[in-house]
Symmetry: D2
Subunit: 357 residues, 4 copies
Amino acid sequence: MQQVDIGILGATGMVGQRFLELLANHPWFNVTWLAASDRSSGKPYGEAVRWKLSTPLPERYAAMPLSPAVPDEHTPRVIFAALDTDIALELEPRFANAGCAVISNSAAFRMEAHTPLVIPEVNEGHLSMVRHQSWADGGYVVTNPNCSAIGLVLALKPLEATFGIESLFVTTMQAISGAGYPGVASLDILGNVVPFIRNEEEKMVAETAKLLGGVSDAGESLPLALRMTAHCNRVAVEDGHTESVSIKLRKPATAEQILECWQQFRPLSGRGLPSAPEQPVEYLHAEDRPQPRLDRMRGGGMASVVGRLRPCTLLDWKFTVLSHNTIRGAAGAALLNAELLHQQGRLVPDRAARGAR
Amino acid sequence: MQQVDIGILGATGMVGQRFLELLANHPWFNVTWLAASDRSSGKPYGEAVRWKLSTPLPERYAAMPLSPAVPDEHTPRVIFAALDTDIALELEPRFANAGCAVISNSAAFRMEAHTPLVIPEVNEGHLSMVRHQSWADGGYVVTNPNCSAIGLVLALKPLEATFGIESLFVTTMQAISGAGYPGVASLDILGNVVPFIRNEEEKMVAETAKLLGGVSDAGESLPLALRMTAHCNRVAVEDGHTESVSIKLRKPATAEQILECWQQFRPLSGRGLPSAPEQPVEYLHAEDRPQPRLDRMRGGGMASVVGRLRPCTLLDWKFTVLSHNTIRGAAGAALLNAELLHQQGRLVPDRAARGAR
Amino acid sequence: MQQVDIGILGATGMVGQRFLELLANHPWFNVTWLAASDRSSGKPYGEAVRWKLSTPLPERYAAMPLSPAVPDEHTPRVIFAALDTDIALELEPRFANAGCAVISNSAAFRMEAHTPLVIPEVNEGHLSMVRHQSWADGGYVVTNPNCSAIGLVLALKPLEATFGIESLFVTTMQAISGAGYPGVASLDILGNVVPFIRNEEEKMVAETAKLLGGVSDAGESLPLALRMTAHCNRVAVEDGHTESVSIKLRKPATAEQILECWQQFRPLSGRGLPSAPEQPVEYLHAEDRPQPRLDRMRGGGMASVVGRLRPCTLLDWKFTVLSHNTIRGAAGAALLNAELLHQQGRLVPDRAARGAR
Amino acid sequence: MQQVDIGILGATGMVGQRFLELLANHPWFNVTWLAASDRSSGKPYGEAVRWKLSTPLPERYAAMPLSPAVPDEHTPRVIFAALDTDIALELEPRFANAGCAVISNSAAFRMEAHTPLVIPEVNEGHLSMVRHQSWADGGYVVTNPNCSAIGLVLALKPLEATFGIESLFVTTMQAISGAGYPGVASLDILGNVVPFIRNEEEKMVAETAKLLGGVSDAGESLPLALRMTAHCNRVAVEDGHTESVSIKLRKPATAEQILECWQQFRPLSGRGLPSAPEQPVEYLHAEDRPQPRLDRMRGGGMASVVGRLRPCTLLDWKFTVLSHNTIRGAAGAALLNAELLHQQGRLVPDRAARGAR
């Protein structure tokens, strides 16, 4: 089977590093092009990067030269983009207009009318929006949600589908890796909590409604009507966002029904996507779980790990959600989107088809 | 002016240590008796204690012998109790029945019908419950709230008084010192969040309602009718509980009115209580405050520090509260209760008056 | 190929947990018996253990009942022992006298005259001491070093072999997992350094000399004459002991020679031991490495990772050593010893041979 | 008594903040001028600074406008400089040439022939070097040592004076605040050790020799002949550098003699310098002290705290030293130098005297 060539934009950042780690032995994808948004162009990746993962940098990536972040004849047709929002706003359109599939982890286009914001287990159908995008040469942009929204929405989706969700309260305790590198200064977080992450609360609310909503015939997002409030905090955790959640359902549900609902939620089962976890929502019965240090790697870092389901006196139920913020919450999310598109035979843009749109 | 002799039960624990630190130069109180609930009786305090505060142990306490935890002729009439609940259930009645004022930080009797649960700025009037207690020899028990409830209730009180509070959502991120010593194992909390603290959520809800409620003519607690839910988490912070709060008010309020309400909340102003902070609720305007490492010592560790007031799409308003869990949340709380009683001339139990009850 | 049945003593502790993690898919060994030194006998392992590793507990171990810590007819002939020293002093002889191979991680018998203290890459020959042991029924005890000694000695061995080591200075910064669970209280180590670990400095010095020394004809240890001093500190690191080392060599050596020496040190190469790292001493050239968070998993947690080789004005050379304290420093060390013994065909004690000794 | 006007260069940095904290209620000095090396000139200090201390920013400083970092007619004659080395190289000479006393915490001029590098308790006499400086208008530069050298040298000085020190081994475990703000990225240090701090080992060795050495008749430094090696590490501690030290003395000494030596070392006793600690070297007898979290504030953060004195098999004695790196190791060190100069009547430069040099 022929592998698909992959390029990575923003390869030296924290999410870029996770892309390389996750793609090191990927059965379908082969990284052939690395670019960084800074002056490191031309250098071998291993010299330019400050590798911060606990798995060693694979040697073949270390020697790969960094390309400039401009599309040219060497650029693969599929680009994983791990860029800061402001840079993504500038660069992602260039690659989409050059006929690339831009599988983006940035916030730049997530809320655009025709840009699918996708979690494969949650809203695969939103990929149809792509048809309404108007980049040149068959290029398109597909995005994945913010690291704080994705684990939450995985846990909410089966409840929304079965009972309906009326309102939602969430407080996050987010890991430092979510802010990139150098990101959070150690003097700000060691032995501390920072009760503020810029724009995070707004993103969580808007993205949750889009993810759980539908798509109009015109290919536009129809967000779910949901009353939701979010409090976002940064804590001294390396990886793994923990969230305290209360929800009000539209139909009554027992604890058993909710647990059953999560247990049976396996929409990708049997689809053979390499990065899809067996059990996308894993419920832990121990009274003091999930915990980021112990549970973030469930499902290879791709599971939403839930625990502490109990009644909420204000809304209906409360529970704790955990997910790995740079795997399921970033690089792994984009990778799974690409796997889904590949399986559907539409990952590599079809230049010829462009007229048909 | 003559100082009041004070005894400390549970003197070697974390809260006991804070009592000694706070009483080291107290203008009204003089520690003359120390007891620990373990086998350390007879040893000098300095040998028995594992002193964990960053201020050195005052030398005169180091040499003081530990007494057995039984009331006798050497026991002062005023006892600060810093005991675990199960031990408090056994020991506090003995001291109350021996005619002592038991100023307790434990949870053992907080929710008893005639036991005042008091924050001086919040519900001074609840002290009248003491008249309905029936310990021997004029003894009585006065308690202060759980470390997670006290900062929250300080911030809520002026809002309740002015606008009424209908419902309330709170997620805590609590410091390790709240669990005592050795308490939380480092393997459980370093780089981690533990989304569970036994009985904490229940305590927060019950105590908040009692603190904000009234007292019947029969001296019984009339809890406030309040819909409240709590999520309690442990984080890798040494001291200072941070809480994300959303509230629904009974009357509409603007942000300005709420800030004004907190600003003007100074019920103890001019009363001259040594441990009362000038400004019991301090609001910080920086977008990323309060933070435990930076702000827990506001008001000498006795302030409830608030920030991030902003609209809540689900309830009305949301904000962050911080307070020092072993000062305002424990030893300082009990101390302020004792100062209030002393100023009212009723700290030292009046044995003669006993018949009058 | 038939697998060897393995029992684990102290299975619920931190090192016991690592044993199970490392043995979960072992090609040669099969865990069939678990015992814990406490009251948990009879319970399923999954209920009795507080599993603290970030890899989930393998399900087949979860259901396995805990046996009492006494040898009987169900006890496998090969026992991995992960016990505290005082308990090991009592239990390990019982199992050895019942004809078991006791592959011990405890300090109890490490310094005994006829007990081999072995690192396979360092002093394989010391295993011959076993012949001089006098337990009943062919039983024997083989030990591995303290977690702070093992990474150091791996790095020293090729230098000792090539240049000779005259004296040695080492300061350790040791991870919390080295103290077991609950072990180090979070109030003692969060944002802190504790410059003391009981008996650790003494163990490091004694074990280093024994490991680098020889064996007399009578099967007794002939420790290396080495002037060595150790400073042991505990730091807020989860796993991985970091050590600052200065050494004085007997023969002059250049930096290049030392690096070459480490590079070529592969005494187990081609031997096919499943847990042996390809490169037992890995040198990192980056100026700020090794670091425990990033590098402890090199060689599957079995490598001694070295960096910062530079001249020492007091002795000859200085460098930094890191190794994973519960893998290479404990469970992995014992496992590698067992693999070595198994390959030599003498892991399972030969009861018949007993008379021959 | 008239207070001396003080200016602060680099006022917004971590050391600048400590200067303001320490000077807030200083009996002799009055801060009248603040400058920062960045674009914040003109802004009120409270807006420009990211205040990171746990004591609130004093209000009168918050309102003070930041001046440009150039000397003019408003600049006080005494400047505390808390600048990065490269900026100090440029700015400090300008202020010295404008006739200012530059009391510098930077490394820029510490090792210059005629620049005194002073710890008041250690080498007061080195201040005489100032006479040989040739800045215009009576200006001069006096420096204090690196944060990692100062606590160490305080502990060494009485031993050097009494027994002579021949050689010295030190491994540091340094706090994050030593790197300024933002300084160390949290991803680099949370749960980690970084075994490298640029130029730190070289500075420690050179400064220790200069501090313990003498001054020639020509006013040049005569460094002590000392064989010393340093290993510098960064650990996840907020404030307080911990150091493992071994020393070889020129004359034999017993433990009692060494303890006595430290106990009696009070060279500033009775001198009335406001920031001088009663006991510059405090010895703690507990087996596991000093610890940064518990002991860094001894002597108001100005003491060198020592513990664990025990024999060293390689050199003679080993022990642990702790000192607060931004108080005794930076702002407090400069402040004490200024107090010493003020008491000698030579803090404010004498413009008239300039010709006399």
